[in-house]
Structures are given as structure tokens and as C-alpha cells.
Symmetry: C2
Subunit: 486 residues, 2 copies
């Protein structure tokens, strides 16, 4: 919408080159592609229609997976009374410094201030205590789509904002084993979802104690590598043990008639996933959207020659209708005020996976020219059978984006047990550094202080190398994935 003067000129020049300044490239791109904008509220963003459409595809793909695994959606209040937030000691310690406080309602000062939910364990736990009586009521498998507020000092569009959107699952189980199985099932679901729909490869594993969720027994996450070699936590799944059950008194009568605390989990993914898509796939020309979450999968640009509205446009419209009928999301850009060259740049910038050009010569030849956003390959394609070919190409682009990102991640993963190589790698070529770690929080903190790298994850399936800790030389407990992170 925010059109500028000089609307016929390619506007790519507004965007800082990715190679020059990744961070500015990212922000420029988010704004110029109209994914999001700053708002008059400090730290809060506006998600614009093009960005929100991506989020809607993410929601759809994730929601169907959450439901297919037996969960149901519900909605809990935005506000949490202070007295509830403070019930779980670690939880309040973790969240109290970054919540927004409602102290006045209408014309009255509130007797008890309310926090705007920074996460919903406290309010949901309170309701579970009311609803759950017997082992027959278990498991409770509830998910919520909601907005969340955390008072952030430093914010970045999509990645870290004072308000963001997410889903949060909250489950209650009869046994510790079931809770752990749920936590890991969701972790696998998250990995499969992000890799399939967003074409973003991730490493799944457990967090070290210092990176755990405030109030969890064990936190698992999936970690993705961005185009600048920094890691991004893309989703978390927490085994809460009985911590919240004890804090909120969520008890049930067990099969043996004894009174037991439930075992809990919680897990979430947020609008930051949109940021991950941009930073993993984007290039110097702009966004590159995976077809499965692209608002438009194909943009048709008619080539205006002579009385093109009578000659070319009807063909373009017919192609649009054919593709739409085949379930492809199509935008026909028939605007007069812009040249084809401007349109090419514009839709490249907006990351549309396939461009379809059609001009008088193409009509003569009964073809259209397809141009892939990912490889820039131009593919003249007969009009007959076009829809099938487009579907094939969209699948090929989706696959290629994943493979390209996976190759990048592998190229930017260094395995070393040498402290010297560890620090050199983190100074120079960024990425993951996989190194043996002794398991000590002090050692982890020292590494962070010296290199800014944190333990992103402790993968579950990998065999530890058994080498001594990369920092202190003590026996290692795991090969940890270190990285500088968002």
C-alpha cells in the first residue's frame, strides 16, 4: 500500500544489501515487502496483510497437526491475577521482570493488579485444578491460539516484539512417562512441521538447565540456522513434571484411589517463524517464500504490447482461472501503471515462488514462460498441461529450498574439541559449533562470556564423542551445539 513517488522504478535499492548488513537487510525487507510495520506502541508491530497471510498458512498447517494428534483448542483469559502468577516460584522469577501490569479498570484502581499473560501456565493450571477430578479425566490435551505480551527492551520485527502471536499447548497426564512422551511427540511434530511447510531444517534436542523454561523440568527445542550464521529457537516443548501441579494443586484420584498430582507439559511456536522464513531463504533480491506458505504461489505478469487488454489479458485471465481451479494460489498483476520490469522486481522482492509471463509471442506459440524465484531459471511451458507442470515446479521449489538450507546448515556446522578452533570459528565463519561439554553451568557461562555463544541444544540421538570438555578439559557429558543466537 505505501506507494511512493517513482512508482515505475524498481525499488530494490531501498533495501540494504544482505551481504553488507544482514540485520538492516532483514528490517528493510520486512517493511518494504509489507510483511510488518512499526506501530506507535513501543516494541509492538503491525502484521500487515501479506505477512499475516503467511502466518495464516503457518496456523493452518500447525493447527491441523495439533488436532490430528488428539488436541483440542480452547481460550483462556488474557489477564492473570498477580496472586496466581506468583504461585510457582521459578515461574514468577522468570517472568515478573517482563510483564505488563494492568492497574486500573474503567474508573477504579484494581485491588489486585493483573498481568497481561506472558504465557498461560498459571491461568490454565488454575482451571485444570477445577476440572480434573479423576484419572478418567486424563489426559487433558488443550491448545490455545493467543496473543502474548513480554516487556522487551530490545525488539526486532517478528523475532522479538513486546506483543506476539503464538499457540500454546498445555497438557495434563496420569504418569511421568506419558508427559515425557507427549513432550517428545510435540518436539517431533514441530520439527516435521517446520521442515515440511517452512522448508527450514532444524536440530531437535534438549536445552541445558540454564536455558530451560522457568518452571519446567526439561525443555526441548528445535533450532534453526539463519542466513547470517546465527541460530534461532523456532519452537519449544516443556516437560513441566509436577511443578505446576503442586503450585496450583492439580490433583486427581488415581486408579488405586490415591490422590495424585498430574504431570504437565506445555509447548509453543510463535510469529517469529515468519522471521525464520525470511532469514533462512531470503536473498539480495528479497524474500523467497516456500510455496506451501506463500500467499501467492504464482504471479502472472502479462506483457503489454499494442492493445494488450484485448489480446493478452484474456489469455492471462484464462490461465489464472485454470490454475485457481487446480488449487494454485494465483495473483494476476494487470495494473497499467507499472512496467513488466517493475513488476518482476516487485514480485521477486515479495518472494512469489513462480512468475508466469505471457505475451503476444507466447500466445502464438501456445505457451507461457515460467520463472523460478529460487533458481531464476526460465522455463517455456506449453499452455496445455500447465497446471500440472506448475504443481510439479512448486513441489520442486519447496524441496530445493529445504535442501539448500540444509546444505547451508551443514556447511556452517563445525565439529571440534579444540578450544582454539572453537573460538576462531565463532569469531570468523559463524554457525553451529558442536563440541564436548562437561555439563557444568559455570563452564557454560564462561564460554558465553568469552564468545557470546550459548548452548542451543543437546541433541538426543547423537552419540557423544567422549572427548574432554572443549573449555575446561573435564570429562564431557554431551556434544553440545553452540551458536550465537537471536
Amino acid at each position: 500500500m505505501a506507494e511512493q513517488d517513482g512508482r515505475k522504478e524498481p525499488l530494490i535499492t531501498e533495501i540494504t544489501p544482505k551481504s553488507e548488513d544482514f540485520s538492516r537487510w532483514y528490517t528493510d525487507l520486512v517493511r518494504r515487502a509489507e510483511l510488518a510495520d512499526y506501530s506507535p506502541v513501543k516494541g509492538c508491530m503491525v502484521i500487515r496483510p501479506y505477512g499475516y497471510a503467511i502466518w495464516e498458512f503457518i496456523q493452518r498447517g500447525l493447527d491441523s497437526r495439533i488436532k490430528a494428534t488428539g488436541h483440542v483448542n480452547a481460550y483462556f483469559p488474557l489477564f492473570i491475577p498477580k496472586s496466581l502468577l506468583v504461585k510457582e516460584a521459578e515461574h514468577v522469577e522468570g517472568f515478573a521482570p517482563q510483564v505488563a501490569w494492568v492497574t486500573r479498570g474503567g474508573t477504579e484502581e484494581l485491588e489486585e493488579p493483573l498481568v497481561v499473560r506472558p504465557t498461560s501456565e498459571a491461568i490454565i493450571g488454575t482451571m485444570y485444578a477445577k476440572w480434573i477430578q479423576s484419572w478418567r479425566d486424563l489426559p487433558v490435551l488443550i491448545n490455545q491460539w493467543a496473543n502474548i505480551v513480554r516487556w522487551e527492551k530490545v525488539t526486532r520485527l517478528f523475532l522479538r516484539t513486546t506483543e506476539f502471536l503464538w499457540q500454546e499447548g498445555h497438557t495434563a497426564h496420569e504418569t511421568a512417562e506419558e508427559a515425557e512422551a507427549e513432550t517428545l511427540m510435540i518436539l517431533r511434530l514441530y520439527k516435521e512441521f517446520v521442515e515440511t511447510e517452512l522448508a527450514v531444517p532444524v536440530i531437535a534436542g534438549r536445552k541445558s538447565a540454564s536455558e530451560q523454561f522457568a518452571g519446567a523440568e526439561r525443555t526441548y527445542s528445535i533450532e534453526a540456522l539463519m542466513g547470517d550464521g546465527r541460530a534461532l529457537q523456532a519452537g519449544t516443548s516443556h516437560n513441566l513434571g509436577q511443578n505446576f501441579a503442586k503450585a496450583f494443586d492439580i490433583q486427581f484420584q488415581a486408579r488405586d484411589k490415591s490422590l495424585q498430582y498430574i504431570w504437565g507439559t506445555s509447548w509453543g511456536m510463535t510469529t517469529r517463524l515468519v522471521g525464520a522464513v525470511i532469514m533462512v531463504h531470503g536473498d539480495e533480491s528479497g524474500l523467497v517464500l516456500p510455496p506451501r506458505i506463500a500467499p501467492y504461489q504464482v504471479v502472472i505478469v502479462p506483457i503489454p504490447r499494442g492493445n494488450w487488454r484485448e489480446t493478452v489479458l484474456p489469455h492471462a485471465q484464462q490461465i489464472r482461472d485454470t490454475l485457481t481451479a487446480a488449487g494454485v494460489r494465483v495473483m494476476l498483476d494487470d495494473r497499467d501503471a507499472y512496467t513488466p520490469g517493475w513488476k518482476f522486481s516487485e514480485w521477486e522482492l515479495r518472494g512469489v515462488p513462480l512468475r508466469l509471463e505471457v505475451g503476444p509471442k507466447d500466445i502464438e506459440r501456445q505457451q507461457a514462460v515460467l520463472a523460478r524465484r529460487d533458481t531464476r531459471e526460465k522455463i517455456p511451458t506449453p499452455v496445455s498441461g500447465l497446471a500440472g507442470r506448475v504443481q510439479e515446479l512448486l513441489d520442486a521449489i519447496q524441496r530445493n529450498l529445504f535442501e539448500r538450507a540444509l546444505a547451508f546448515q551443514r556447511e556452517h556446522t563445525t565439529r571440534t574439541s579444540s578450544w582454539d578452533e572453537f573460538t576462531r570459528t565463532l569469531e570468523g565463519r559463524p554457525g553451529f559449533v558442536v563440541s564436548p561439554w562437561c555439563g557444568s553451568e559455570a563452564c557454560e557461562a564462561e564460554i558465553k562470556g568469552l564468545t557470546q555463544a550459548t548452548i542451543r541444544t543437546l541433541p538426543m540421538d547423537a552419540e557423544p564423542s567422549g572427548a574432554p570438555c572443549v573449555k575446561c578439559g573435564q570429562p564431557s557429558v554431551a556434544d553440545a551445539w553452540f551458536a550465537k543466537a537471536y
Copy 2:
């Protein structure tokens, strides 16, 4: 979930009879059917999975209509700085007394307090001023799904809660005519949606000045009649004129190069629609859900005789699979702990449109017995062709619910130009009273003071009777629809 002792007894007795106390019947039903529950936050409710599933079907049906008419979704911040809320004088006057104030963020007192959005004209208007430059940028047709907070003194589950969920459309147009056309198009869309999907007949019309949205030029609404004869506003569509454009400086360069203010609209429907469904269709046995928004359209209750898990259950499962494959939403209630009689009552209470019973005799006869929730008719049906028959019956139930509600609405609409009959009607048999009105706010206020009835709507298409005002005897400007309202 909240299972009680005595789980084998029908629990309908927990619900106050509808004929005895409609209001208590409603609240009992909402809680007992697990649609919603009270929360520890004053005035805020929890929407439980069964209630939320209904809302999801409402969202789906409404969202697809909003998109089909060219609108796109976006997301704007939850918080609105005080300085923005106060820009439109009538708007702030209308909303300031009922907003929640955030005064602290993290550890700092905010310099400027933030309100939690009571509606989003102020924040969206601010962004539109930034985005809209030229007539080429118009129309802007944006919708948002969001949570809203209004500090209510008296609340009622779904109908009036401090926090609720809604969609709010906000559009900007080049001309006054386009804005009015949009406002009315949405009004028609709302009416068609509510009547088609919720089977709730509504009267569409314009609000009198005293019932207008704070800041609107003209407010239109759809009004439904509840089972107790009180009216419920089910959706509103506002023509904002240039009020917000001027307050927020939303200007564009017109085709003639002059600088003009945009013409705005806004419109919304909320989770109170779930309340409307309950109060329009519900009966002494509980909910009656229209098939199109019922989380389960069919519940299968196997009749346990002998080793039924080996004999009857496989048949029930096969029927479930057949119906599911045909796109029907099915619940197979194979729980051991409950008798068929208990299950019948339970699923009646939860309003499932069709019950399907299958026992050993039915299997012999290659049939199942269908029972309609709306008419209680029992229909033995051959298993072959079952899915088609079920679809027909679901359609018939949807139609019947609408027709029944329409008949009720007509029976409870009185047309009179006699003040005596007017007051008698509102004392006794409740419903709509359609009467000539002089157009004076003072007269409207006097009628409200004497009878509690307000003007719900001034229908657009009806010919006014031309009779003198029912109250003051002055010449009338319209036949107004009066009612006591929620």
C-alpha cells in the same frame, strides 16, 4: 471433564428449567455443557473446547465470506497509547469509562498509560494515515481477528464479558458512496451468515442516533430474538464518514490531485454469537446445535448387549468411518462407564443434531436408528446409503431450526400504534414491538424509561405506516422495532 459422582445418572437435573428461569437455565447450560466456565479473573470467561469448537466453525464460515468479498486479514497491537484514543472526541467519550489501563511495563512506570484495545479504530487509523497516500491505494479492506477488553460491571457468559473475541473490519474508501455501499454490503453478509450458518433469523436495519457507535455517522445492526423474547444485537456495521479520517489525518491525493480525507467503515461480530445460538435454539433438554456449526453432527451410541465390544462395536466403528469419510463430524461414544440412557441425555444436553443408535437387533436388520435432536423423531435407516441419508437429515435439521426460530420471531412481533397496546405487550408477552416513532431522542428516552424497551433497529426496506408516534403522537419518521434487549 468436570465429572461428578453419580456419573451414571442423567445430570439434566443440574439445569434450571428454561420455563422457570431463562437466565439461570442459560448459565447452567453453558457451564454444564462445558461451553464456557468462570475464570479467576473478574468478568473474564474461559471458553472450553466444546464452546471453542463452535466458535471455530463460526470463524471459518465468517472468515471465508469476508475474504470472498475482497478483504484481507492483518493484526494490529493490543495496546493503544492514551494520546491516540483521545483523538476522536466522541470515541474517547464512549470508551474511556470502560477500558483497562496498563500503567507499568516490566519494572518501569509508563510515561504514557496504554489502554487495552476496546476496539481498534484509533490504532488502525494511525497506521492508515501512514500507509495511504494516493487514490490508487484505495480501497483498503482489512479485517482482524482479535481479543477485546471492555471493563464491564455486569457480565454474563458469552453475552457480555470483560474480554471477548471478535473480528473487526476497518476499511478506507475514496468516496462517501463507496463507504456506505461497503457498510451495507457487510450488513447483508452478516445477515446471510447468521441465518445460513447459525439458523438464527435476524432483522437488519439502522440504529437510532442514541444507539450509534461512538464516532460513527451511521450504525447498522442485525437483531435476533432470543427464546425469552428479549432482543440481542448480533452484529454491527458502521459508516464512520470522515470522523476518524479527520481525527487521525488519513488523507490521500485524489484523482484531481487535491488532498482529501478517506471515508471509513468498521464492523464486527463477536463470541456473543455462541450465546445467541444457545438462547435461540436451546430447549428444556439442553443445547440444540445447528448442524453447520456443531462440533459433532452425529453421535453414535452402541447398545451394549452381551460381548458388545466384539459384536456391536465393530459395526459402530464401521459406521463412524463411513460417515467420517463422507465429511460428517462424528463422535463414537464407546465408554464403558456410562449407560446408553445416560449417554442419550448427555449428548442431547450437548445439542448434537443426530444420534445414531446401533444394537444387536439393528445389526440383524442391517439398520441403525437415527434420532433427531430437534424433533426427537426416531428414524430406522438401512445401513446402505446411510451417509446420504444422514446428510439429508442434517440439512433438514438446519432448515427446521431456522424455520422454527423464524416462526417464533414472527409470533413474538407485535405491530401497534397504540401506546396502551405497546406497554401491555412489553409487560406481558415479550418480543419485538413495531411502532411508529417521531424520531426524537427525548421521546425514545422516555419510552425506555417507562418500558425498558429500546429501539433495536429501523429497518431499511419497510414502508413506514405513516401513523403518529406511538408515544407522543407527533408525525412519525419510521416504524421502529422496539424490544427489551441483552
